[in-house]
Amino acid sequence: MLSYLVALLIIAGIYALLTISLDLQYGFTGLVNFGQVGFFAVGAYGSALVSLSGAPIALGFVVAILAAAVSALPIGLLALRLREEYLAIITLGYSEAVRLVIVNETWLTNGSQGLTGVPRPFMQLGEGRADLAYLALVLACNLAMVLLIRRLVGSPFGRLIQAVRDNETAAIALGKHPPAAKVKTLTIGAGIAGLAGALYGHYIGFVSPDQFLPLVTFYIWMAMILGGIGSLRGSLAGAAILVLILEGTRFIRDFLPGVADVQMASVRLALVGLLLIGFVLHRPQGLFGSMARR
């Protein structure tokens, strides 16, 4: 039971990183990123490949963060000139392109078979303790990133990005340069998603293209909206609720005899769709958010 709880918390922590990263991009800067799973995948594969080649896991994490951030740069440069709906389309296309590369470049990624045996840190501590140590690592990453984003948002830079979100024209009129700010938040957010990817890959021990479907991006959007857009605390809560919902559907299955795994995947897809529609229609401010900001 304890180990199950720890596992849940680790997964929730990984989703939490993805959610606060999206919140930095959309909630604070207004960048519509529909390709979060692409940066997540780049991080997971980057770290897995580096550590499988024999390099230390820590180096894998660094590579994951850098690779994801660098892969966001071209998108960021495009985003400078685009309205939100085009950025949404471009990022969605980006994440699909990443998945295509993973599926096709078999020499590097082993294609749809995926990479197995991604090393897990702390294993020398023994099974149970290794999990706890990993949880501590995930929580530490979350704490560090929350502090980083808090600091960013509270700084003059943070006031700039929020001004860009609320009224870009006014920000330009005041002599600010929104494009640079947008590229910065997109890359920082992508780096955080890359970190989440590394944590995920080393925890599960296995990465494959099936783990990085566009659906994951919208899990994260759902978590952000659940918690209230533009609230870091809300994002953390939203990620926790998301994991409870995803796990919950697994339990429902135990009460529904004769429902196969494949069908459960359909139920989950339909449920996520329904929740997205429901929130957009009825509580766009999120469960905990107030309408004041947007």
Partner: protein, 285 residues
């Protein structure tokens, strides 16, 4: 090479149909409808269902169109109509929700395994150096007919004129007595019909599978942007251009990178011409 190009034209027609549906919604409803692909999937499955219970090609088309229209109208009446005053991102997220919900419910009953239409014979039309399957020729003709019908409705009928008026200036349209409710219903019915038939054609050329429409979404967005967002006339030529480019790239990049090609083209166009190739600058950005 020439055969690849011809195949590309046919594939491009289908991308163009999807882009046409995207552009219609974009012009009048003003958001990129990410559920477009899944409307196609639902149309494809409806057509397959009709085939399964012994319906002929007409029954299959009717079923695909009916399913597409029903899904699109339902999405409009239950969701999109209530978001007309919300920010664009709300409608876009909702359209993704609809896409997932539709696909989830669909696969709950049909399963994930691909299904096949029985081949309608392998007769081949030889026109000089070009070899064309007769089935493909028929499907392409149907797609063209569909495009012609849509453009005809848009430009030759009163409801089409009203649609274009609402697209140009919704406030002015309302002020001059256009009943926007009716216009929106007609628009979504048209979008449903286009996507339904396009889905059926895609399924007949390949397989019936749950990702059929979603996989066409990125190429369709690319074609919509290439043709100028919100301009229905540009979508089809742009789709054909993309289809040909994608198909011609296969000898070098392989079959599976087709979608990536359209993504790259999309990115390059947006970099050079943020308003699309033939797009005009809108007054409000």
């Amino acid at each position: 090479m020439l055969n690849l190009a011809v195949n590309g034209v046919i594939e491009g027609l289908l991308i163009g149909l999807a882009a046409l549906a995207l552009n219609l919604v974009f012009a009048v409803g003003r958001f990129p409808n990410a559920a477009t692909g899944d409307f196609m999937t639902i149309g494809a499955y409806a057509g397959y269902g009709a085939q399964h219970i012994g319906g002929g090609i007409l029954a299959q088309s009717a079923a695909a169109i009916a399913a597409g229209v029903a899904t699109a109208l339902l999405a409009h009446l239950t969701v999109f109509r209530r978001l007309s005053r919300s920010p664009m991102i709300a409608a876009m997220l909702a359209s993704i929700g609809i896409a997932f919900f539709g696909r989830g419910v669909l696969t709950l009953f049909t399963g994930q395994d691909p299904k096949f239409f029985p081949l309608h014979g392998m007769a081949v039309l030889v026109l000089g150096p070009v070899r064309l399957q007769v089935t493909d020729a028929w499907l392409a003709a149907t797609a063209l007919l569909c495009v012609a019908a849509v453009l005809g409705v848009l430009h030759l009928t009163p409801i089409g004129r009203q649609m274009r008026a609402v697209a140009d200036n919704p406030v002015l349209a309302q002020a001059s007595g256009i009943r926007s409710r009716r216009v929106m219903l007609a628009l979504w019915a048209m979008v449903g019909a286009i996507t339904g038939i396009a889905g059926l054609i895609v399924a007949m050329r390949t397989t019936v599978n749950p990702e059929l429409g979603w996989d066409l979404l990125v190429p369709a967005f690319a074609a919509a942007v290439l043709g100028g967002v919100g301009s229905p006339g540009g979508a089809v030529p742009a789709g054909i251009a993309l289809g040909v480019l994608q198909e011609l790239s296969t000898p070098w990049l392989g079959f599976s990178y087709k979608t990536a090609v359209s993504f790259v083209i999309l990115a390059v166009i947006l970099l050079l011409r943020p308003h699309g190739l033939f797009g005009v600058k809108e007054a409000v950005r």
